[in-house]
């Protein structure tokens, strides 16, 4: 059977979501951001919420997420996305409101906003990309950089004595009473991507059922440019080095077994 006989609309099994536009993404080859963007777009489409979603982009590599997914967006100051999302959701309670933040944005400069938005139980979803490095500014140390990992501002590897310890912020968020769902996922292969999509779907559904509570989906991710590895090797390095520090799975799901 010739390829052209297979390539027909009725045989379509996978394509990028419609609201993900054709603008070329500024991300480096193999960047996890692209996959997570796609999942966010897919879930919004599948939930039928294109007209009812307001996203908040961070400062960091994902600052331009608004150029790639055709929904309404607000671009926040560094770390402040959960504060924006708080107000948006309270003023427009029928909308799906989510933030998309990196580790520097969420776990360093925006720690207070993150913790307090979650603690207030805001009905928002936080998509948290943890790749242990500041990509946009050229690969500096992040709060989540693991021991020995080399970055532009810890060129000999992170030293706990000098720089303190990796901040496992989702471990803390899970204990807040305002939290409803915290999970840690990854996107290095198709199975992992499917799981992450389910997690994002659950987080977004939590925002819309009126029961309240914040949902956080951490995605342990790669930064091949920052890590100075090929995308394939970056995935392997992540599995071997990041996953022991940031083990995957649900940290808390208050709707489980209900």
């Amino acid at each position: 059977m010739a390829l052209e006989d297979i390539i027909k609309p009725e045989n379509l099994v996978y394509k990028k979501p419609d609201i993900m536009n054709d603008n070329p993404m500024h991300y480096c080859p193999g960047c996890s951001h692209g996959v997570v963007h796609k999942l966010v777009a897919e879930v919004i489409e599948e939930m039928g919420l294109v007209e009812d979603t307001i996203g908040v982009t961070p400062v960091g590599c994902a600052v331009f997420a608004y150029n790639y997914i055709d929904i309404d967006w607000e671009e926040a100051a560094h770390g402040r996305a959960p504060a924006l999302a708080t107000a948006i959701k309270r003023l427009r309670p029928n909308k799906l409101v989510f933030t998309y933040q990196g580790d520097g944005d969420l776990a360093a400069i925006g720690t207070a906003e993150t913790i307090h938005a979650c603690n207030r139980g805001e009905s928002i979803a936080i998509i948290f990309i943890n790749n242990g490095i500041y990509g946009m500014t050229g690969g500096q140390m992040a709060p989540t950089t693991i021991e020995g990992m080399k970055t532009a501002t810890c060129p000999y590897g992170r030293d706990y004595k000098l720089n303190g310890y990796p901040l496992k912020i989702t471990n803390q968020l899970k204990d807040l009473e305002g939290i409803r769902y915290v999970t840690r996922q990854s996107v290095q292969n198709a199975a992992a991507v499917r799981k992450t999509k389910k997690a994002i779907r659950k987080a977004f559904e939590n925002c819309m059922d009126g029961k309240g509570g914040a949902s956080v989906v951490e995605v342990v991710s790669t930064c091949s440019s920052g890590w100075k590895l090929t995308p394939e090797k970056a995935n392997k390095w992540m599995e071997e080095n990041m996953f022991p520090q940031y083990p995957l799975g649900d940290l808390i799901d208050k709707d489980a077994n209900k």
Binding site: K8, N11, V13, Y14, P24, G34, K38, A190, S224, P231
Partner: protein
């Protein structure tokens, strides 16, 4: 017995040559082109068309949304 047959269409202008689709393919269908696209990247191609079962793993892991996957049954 019905056989599943798939096809992968790569938007070669959008592809950045990260090769994650090549790694993700369980049937070793995909490879990188010798040619480069307008951006100078080698892009993903179907090197082994017959082996494709349309599982879409390549599309699912593609960070740039370059891949569309089709699948049909052949009796």
């Amino acid at each position: 017995m019905a056989k599943i047959k798939g096809a992968v269409v790569v938007n070669k202008d959008r592809c950045k040559g990260c090769q994650l689709c090549v790694v993700a393919c369980p049937a070793n269908v995909l490879a990188m082109s010798k040619q480069v696209n307008a951006k100078g990247y080698n892009y993903a191609i179907m090197a082994n068309e017959d082996a494709c079962v349309g599982c879409a793993s390549c599309g699912i892991v593609c960070p740039d949304g370059c891949i569309t996957v089709y699948k049909t049954k052949i009796d």
